[in-house]
Symmetry: D2
Subunit: 496 residues, 4 copies
Amino acid sequence: MNSDSNFELAGAVVGAGYVRRAQQEASRRAALMTSLLSQRRLPATAWTNEQIELLLHELAAMDSNNYVGHVGVGEREGRVFSELVRRRNFAFAHGVGRSGELAAVQPKAAGSSLYAKVCEWMTLHALRIAGLTEVTACAILPTATGMSLVLAFLALLPSRPPTARKVIWPRIDQKTCFKALLTAGLQPLVVQNRREGDQLTTDVAAIEALIAEHGAASIFGVVSTTSCFAPRGCDAVEPIARLCKQHGLVHVVNNAYGVQASATCKEISRAMRVGRVDVVISSTDKNFLVPVGGAIAYATDASVIKRISSAYPGRASGSPCLDLFVTLLSLGESGWSALLAERERLFVYARGKLAETVAPLGERVLDTPRNRVSLGVTLSQLPPALVTHFGAQLFARNCSGARAVDCAEVKTFDGVEFRGWGASADDYACPYFTVAVAIGSTQEDIDLFCTKLAKLLREEQRRAQRAPAPAPAPAVAVDVVAIEAAATSADEEKKR
Amino acid sequence: MNSDSNFELAGAVVGAGYVRRAQQEASRRAALMTSLLSQRRLPATAWTNEQIELLLHELAAMDSNNYVGHVGVGEREGRVFSELVRRRNFAFAHGVGRSGELAAVQPKAAGSSLYAKVCEWMTLHALRIAGLTEVTACAILPTATGMSLVLAFLALLPSRPPTARKVIWPRIDQKTCFKALLTAGLQPLVVQNRREGDQLTTDVAAIEALIAEHGAASIFGVVSTTSCFAPRGCDAVEPIARLCKQHGLVHVVNNAYGVQASATCKEISRAMRVGRVDVVISSTDKNFLVPVGGAIAYATDASVIKRISSAYPGRASGSPCLDLFVTLLSLGESGWSALLAERERLFVYARGKLAETVAPLGERVLDTPRNRVSLGVTLSQLPPALVTHFGAQLFARNCSGARAVDCAEVKTFDGVEFRGWGASADDYACPYFTVAVAIGSTQEDIDLFCTKLAKLLREEQRRAQRAPAPAPAPAVAVDVVAIEAAATSADEEKKR
Amino acid sequence: MNSDSNFELAGAVVGAGYVRRAQQEASRRAALMTSLLSQRRLPATAWTNEQIELLLHELAAMDSNNYVGHVGVGEREGRVFSELVRRRNFAFAHGVGRSGELAAVQPKAAGSSLYAKVCEWMTLHALRIAGLTEVTACAILPTATGMSLVLAFLALLPSRPPTARKVIWPRIDQKTCFKALLTAGLQPLVVQNRREGDQLTTDVAAIEALIAEHGAASIFGVVSTTSCFAPRGCDAVEPIARLCKQHGLVHVVNNAYGVQASATCKEISRAMRVGRVDVVISSTDKNFLVPVGGAIAYATDASVIKRISSAYPGRASGSPCLDLFVTLLSLGESGWSALLAERERLFVYARGKLAETVAPLGERVLDTPRNRVSLGVTLSQLPPALVTHFGAQLFARNCSGARAVDCAEVKTFDGVEFRGWGASADDYACPYFTVAVAIGSTQEDIDLFCTKLAKLLREEQRRAQRAPAPAPAPAVAVDVVAIEAAATSADEEKKR
Amino acid sequence: MNSDSNFELAGAVVGAGYVRRAQQEASRRAALMTSLLSQRRLPATAWTNEQIELLLHELAAMDSNNYVGHVGVGEREGRVFSELVRRRNFAFAHGVGRSGELAAVQPKAAGSSLYAKVCEWMTLHALRIAGLTEVTACAILPTATGMSLVLAFLALLPSRPPTARKVIWPRIDQKTCFKALLTAGLQPLVVQNRREGDQLTTDVAAIEALIAEHGAASIFGVVSTTSCFAPRGCDAVEPIARLCKQHGLVHVVNNAYGVQASATCKEISRAMRVGRVDVVISSTDKNFLVPVGGAIAYATDASVIKRISSAYPGRASGSPCLDLFVTLLSLGESGWSALLAERERLFVYARGKLAETVAPLGERVLDTPRNRVSLGVTLSQLPPALVTHFGAQLFARNCSGARAVDCAEVKTFDGVEFRGWGASADDYACPYFTVAVAIGSTQEDIDLFCTKLAKLLREEQRRAQRAPAPAPAPAVAVDVVAIEAAATSADEEKKR
């Protein structure tokens, strides 16, 4: 329709007056787009689904595979066999990026290139709103957090001498992060956390000691973690950043789901101001309510982002970026701010509600002020085997995401042994479980969880009193893994 | 995107050259639309799904319910609660038509009004391609064939004196059509068909006799039928049209699925030239491969179409029109012509294939040259009860649409008795079944059907020879109705 | 997936425990469906879109056109050419209804038949929740309100002698309704409304007089209207129902958008208890937030509904029913109740807010307690021509649905003259405009409207003072019609 | 619906017989799934879109984020903000993979895990059909070819001593591949290609010499390339594989779009039998007609695939796998075989058609029998600058994918200089352009291209004769890059 002559022709059919209103409307929509392209930030208010879809179709029409009468004679022409696949990708087929660089423009795909760029601007704005005020550049990576950390390491490796392959890593019991170090060819120097009250915090002195011991020349840098399960808190990124600056070490921050926590964002911002933070990696799904698939790398120095983006050879799936693009338009600045504010409110609400719920049962919420997303609750009344059982039962009762930790598991990855796996400490004081109050949570969720929790915990406590402790079960950190074991054993029982 | 300044801004982001190509492309798309709006006919070649979707979104953006910042304070504002419903209607919510007239433009819904109008043009063109060369106007009715006939009758009633309420109706055993007469308040004068060889044809002399007997002043008109199940053929519309012209009678043609048969279209065209044909009604689903829901009324005299469209009070669902609009764009002139040609070819193919299939089993294809869609095959070797059973078995074996007729059923509607119901004749010579070679059929379908047919027919013939004829079952015209009976009795057997 | 053996096979692939959870989940979903099929009412709480879509696909799989390996040899086999059309119809292609009856089950389309039936149950439940407690049967008609009224008239005509074709019609200035009477072949006896204060009410005495004058034997019945634009109020259905009972007249209630007004529903219920109400017709789009296309007929006597449904010859589009089905599942009982309650609250809110807004400008809200959806506001400071202009300006400022009435227009339909067209009265006291507080309205809409209203009204008042009254413009009831005129004249000016 | 009791309830509503047919149908569909889960290969024939969608919804219902009444209290719960995003991902939100491994099962996402696994089976089958008969294991990687090569390198690095970081690389002028080597930290030893007639082939002797020169202990392995632009042919993978086996070197094959070429697949199979091929990487979009985003790694040794899959830390986007899953179901074995056969036919057709087209213009098709996808055509009549221009003009005329190479460009990446960039040779004999006959191409595309080609080539030749050679333009390998330059200069001209 988008030509004056078409509107005129349409006016002859359905009335010049009505069409004129529609044409004004087309201008109004074009103005929304102008605002997006010229202001380079989140729209002030949300776009409707209808507005977003129209834009997506217009952008797709800019890609050569959708040209009228297009003839493709290359080996990669955005041909899509399945109509279902075509539709779910809104007729985008060329992915994002180019041989040169992930952020490069594709000659064959101007529309895809455009949404990728606009998404980058909106994301940068969203990060700043969240409190990451020092950030000046970001990249939407088509890989989830773990692989994005690998990519960041690979891109930064050339900035250090070939012999600097050790990496200082304040312990965080998350397999993905540890594997990312290994896949990138780094040799981890694990720093145990210090306990202060309930909370596990960064042992900065130990880091200093490691630098002294190994010599900065042999060290690639420090990988700190700012979002994690309680009782571990956000790493002391400011002192770490100072140390990295002082010793010329790379500092990569694993801020998987910390964008949603304003105190964490502020802390990272301070670290950026006073010390060295090369790049921060955050998950798109955990912070922006999109399906798993992407991550964001962001920094104060645009050249670092460029380096990461350039390290990615060739094209990549546009899906993570497209999902984020649609979501950010659906949110707008006001929606994003509201989501952030609601999460902060709910975090406080959940802490109180959980405390209330478990107090009568002799348990308490762990005091971990440096963790702003995850909350720990003691399971002091349960023997280790029942801790496992408790975790599995939560999942069976339709609650997912809670993790019950008995602090007794031992795991070995690539020759490195982790005692008390799951707790980020060799010998944490007592078993506990954690829940997260993540962005998108609702008060209804929290209330329903507390109701189920009270019921289950009471049952488990009774079970503990009733029977002699069950045979010391193989100590496993139960997130939902135990479910399978439980189910399998139930199966076997049946067969008998 | 649709503004020069946006393209310029985009060019600054993803390269002016690439964006220029995209902008040329936007012009090319606009030109497609210009062609649609100015030529007022089917596009020469099919539009792609992607092109159609973009257009639908652009049209929806012209409706007030989708305006940016729209405030609705009426009782009907196109508010849609469910996102699923919104999406499946492409954000169109205002339906089509207006209090004044079904074809009227809606001020609040310029986009909906536009697709309705363009659909009308394309349909007119499609009818002409099909051979209905005399037609000058058409309306897309939001009701299926039966109700559309009612609407046509109601609209044409005022053109006859209030006492002229009898209607001459060459018998066609299709309940819907008979009910349409009754619902419109007409009193049917049923004309039995004449048998010529295998074929049932219009008894024109009997019609003349009826006019003489009742007097034209008491007669509303004649309703002829041009698409029907073999062995009945297309009505002799030309002589009927001459009679109607001579006596000043209304002539409505029920051409439910005859648009796809070029010989039928030509016959109607001749009737239009030499006699009186007020309006023809055809199904959209049966001729244009859309879901059930709409019909087309078309005529040589635009004022008749206007009268029908004006008789429809208020708005209507836009769905039938929208489905047709999308389908016609998806076909284009070349696609539509190809579909028609392929059906003609397959009809000949199927006749031969069926003849070959049943000859060894002692049956033959009925010779009904005036039926160009439906074919009859004798079931002379089967007793009546097995005719019913045969029909049900076809459905059970995943073949739908075949009708087995034992010529022995009697039905009474509104006091009018129909003997031999299903055969359009009181005493057709022998039982038979019919199949249709309708638009969209495939050669694969025909082949697979013939394979299943041969197998089943042999089984039924053996069954007939083996046992004494089953107790004379209640004679029913089996289309798939018998299936239920069969299933129910099987149920009851089980219960015992 | 839906077989135990498939779940077992899946378990071998992704873990028996996880699959067992998924299988429990499948049971839980099946239980939701069981509840729907056995309780025959709205689900207590909303279904999610994901749940609804899965159900729709499962239902579509029950229709023969989607059978695996299906061979269609009929003339109507649910063949769909366009993949876009297939998808938007969720692969349903057979429409609803059957030659016999609109509510009849289709052998070829068990899934379509099922959603139609479940939709009917849920709608009945929704009507009762809304306050229509006497209703025992309903039908979802595939035609909007106007045509549905025609259908009801046609179905009920045979219950009255052929000479009883006059219909008593308390005046309501809505063209659709008047045309419905004419299309059905009825002869309207228009009853002028009485003015009581600001409000226009039913002149029951005049109705009685008409019955006496014409004789019940010549009268088909009374068509009353319970939802309309202020200042006309809901008809006095209770006294009318008594009269109809007394004189054996048919009573059809046009309750287009009154389902959402509990007082109106209660009034209709009382009428049903004490007098005769044959059938009530309501719009689906205006009451249930679906796109235009369907209506509901409901009654205390199931046989009346059956008669209407039987009068509809043949099949019909399934779209209106499908949209309603999805929407009712999306609402659930709690959602529906909440929507109703919110509307009642907003109606009161809007009345206050409007009063506040216009008081300083010398205008006031009309006092029309018997209208529970529409509110009138005087335009006493504006000359007639500016009333028209005011209405057009509202639309130009993105407010749709307000109607400005200058009470001076004269219209003639089919020889019947209506003075003061738009106001439902020959000589209403003063010009005014109306707004509706319909279901789905938001407080934000109302606030935004009032802001725009204040600004525009002030401008128009200034314009009125400034200039001599513009040349007495052709008096037209402006809803948005004037917009076109305005635009067209602007066009013409340009051309000069 | 999926329970016997629901079918029974439905039967009571719409007829037991009809529902029984529908229930049989449900069994038939379940059997399709059983076949998929038990046979672990492509379905024999294509699934319809409707069948695929139903399956996707059923699988999504197995993921915890879609459980009825689910309470999520983790930091990653598959929450999706945008309904558009939810829908386009079919409500899958958890991606694929797990901390442990890309191919690991997710407890929270049984459905996602299941499609990933089934997709892997079908892909393996598809590879074998294509001729890769030795392959026993594969992984669907969520990264495109380039990054997948990096991942393969990283996973295989630990199998070689830390000092073995050199990599032998027969030159292929594709930036992505070269960057992949660098990003993985490898040091390329570039092997120039040998010219044999028109064709560039692997210099196996040079490879042997390099191994001797550098010593196997310092070499990681060889990266060979089997799909490339003519005139380079498929690498001599068999001799290379023998050398790698002999010297204990890793052998990675970059077979980006060679799955579609049966001769190439057979050659790789032979190499696997007689020598060492650790892993082969192919693109999903270039071979399977899905949007850009994924790649396949496949091998004879399942443990290598396991190592690659384990090297990927954490989860990944499910999109590439989901697109492939849907596409493979849409194809079935017969569809996939037909696509492959059609491509082979078209390749021969295109070679002949191109030869015919350019012969009258004094050009010829390069004789490159070891390239089975790409064809080169000489541009001997054009000066270098016009070669560039010719390429840009093709794109401007809606032909994408052709590459015009003037053999004069010099590029330097990371200190390595490539003369004659684009031709994979320092000094190829003459300028030329290439086209590919890739899977999904149509004869119509080829014909249309040849028509446009003939016209353009004639124009360019005339231009060459007319004018003195344009100022020796900066020599650039023009794929579509030149377009921008051209466009920009055109812009500048306009401005003057």
